[in-house]
Amino acid sequence: MKVNELIEKTGWKNISTEASLDKEIMGVYVGDLLSWVMGKGEQGQAWITVQSHLNVIAVAVLLEFSCVIIADGVIVPEDVLQKAIEENLAIVLADCSPFECTRKLIEFGY
């Protein structure tokens, strides 16, 4: 499914650009150690994390993730959001835990 479909079905909130929602979610990765994610993540994946440092955007762009799902209601700093907008990367805020986010995505067939 595309990121905009995920938003519609879950009620999670995208705080980045509209255009970023058009990307296809090819799979899912869950992790908070950015070094680890850099080594293991694959193109097109939706990335579920509780990290909200600026480097999250760099890693997501590097790996061409379809979106970043920030779990547990973690607040995204303004400079991080600005960078995501600049990079046309969807930042999806979810109030639930990484586990609950993962469960949702499994329900959608991932």
């Binding site: 950015l34 990290q51 440092h53 480097n55 700093p77």
Partner: protein
């Protein structure tokens, strides 16, 4: 001068109970070090007794603390004035996650006086993240005239490169801590934008035997460059 600016006292739950202020100061003196610092996890409360111990032994010290940020990155913060330490400690207290220490699991967090007598314990677990990001922590340290050294930058646990993938280019650190010169070369290769900074090779000792031998030296000029003034 030979230095070791990252030593854990018995206040850190993970260090040995014989890492008392006088034991550390005396062991460093025996080993032939000139300048040392204790960097306990998230607390500066051992520093006053350590200052006295260092004065008595005749070894130089600066105040230090190893902060764990919300990204779980470890950074060493250093100060020259006790007043700045006190103000920074107040900030730490506000940013602490109040989780009680489980001594049997994590270890004791013993606070000593200048005679190495245990006069108290830190109630809350010190090896835990503060509710403050790396950037915020650095800004606050600078606000209280301190300096920031990113700790053990290539470690596989709690280092900036492990937690955040690489050193952020906008990170306003004052120095970088590595385990050896090879690591320094690796860090430079991975981050070509790092031109001038102060490099530290510290022990991160949790027991007396691990305090550095007189192997890592820094000139007074390099040290003054780090502080931006005569120290």
């Amino acid at each position: 001068m030979f230095y070791d600016f990252h030593i854990h006292s018995c206040l850190s739950p993970c260090s040995n109970n014989d890492m008392t202020p006088n034991n550390i100061a005396q062991m460093a003196k025996i080993k032939g070090l000139d300048y040392i610092a204790i960097c306990d996890h998230n607390s500066l409360r051992q520093q006053p007794a350590f200052k006295i111990a260092c004065n008595q032994v005749g070894i130089k010290m600066m105040y230090g603390v190893e902060i764990q940020t919300s990204e779980e990155v470890h950074v060493c913060a250093y100060f020259l004035e006790m007043n700045d330490c006190n103000l920074f400690q107040e900030w730490i207290d506000k940013k602490t996650n109040p989780i009680k220490n489980n001594e049997s699991f994590f270890g004791e967090q013993n606070l000593c006086n200048e005679f190495d007598e245990v006069i108290g314990k830190e109630e809350y677990l010190l090896i835990n993240s503060l509710n403050a990001s790396l950037n915020e922590t650095i800004d606050v340290v600078h606000c209280f005239h301190g300096k920031v050294v990113l700790a053990h930058v290539l470690d596989r646990v709690n280092s900036v490169t492990h937690q955040l993938g690489f050193i952020p280019q906008d990170c306003k650190f004052d120095g970088l801590e590595v385990k050896n010169l090879n690591q320094m070369i690796t860090v430079k290769q991975k981050h070509p934008w790092i031109q001038e900074t102060t490099w530290f090779i510290n022990s991160d000792a949790h027991q007396l035997i691990d305090i550095s031998e007189p192997e890592n030296a820094m000139s007074s000029k390099e040290f003054e460059l780090f502080w931006g003034k005569t120290v």
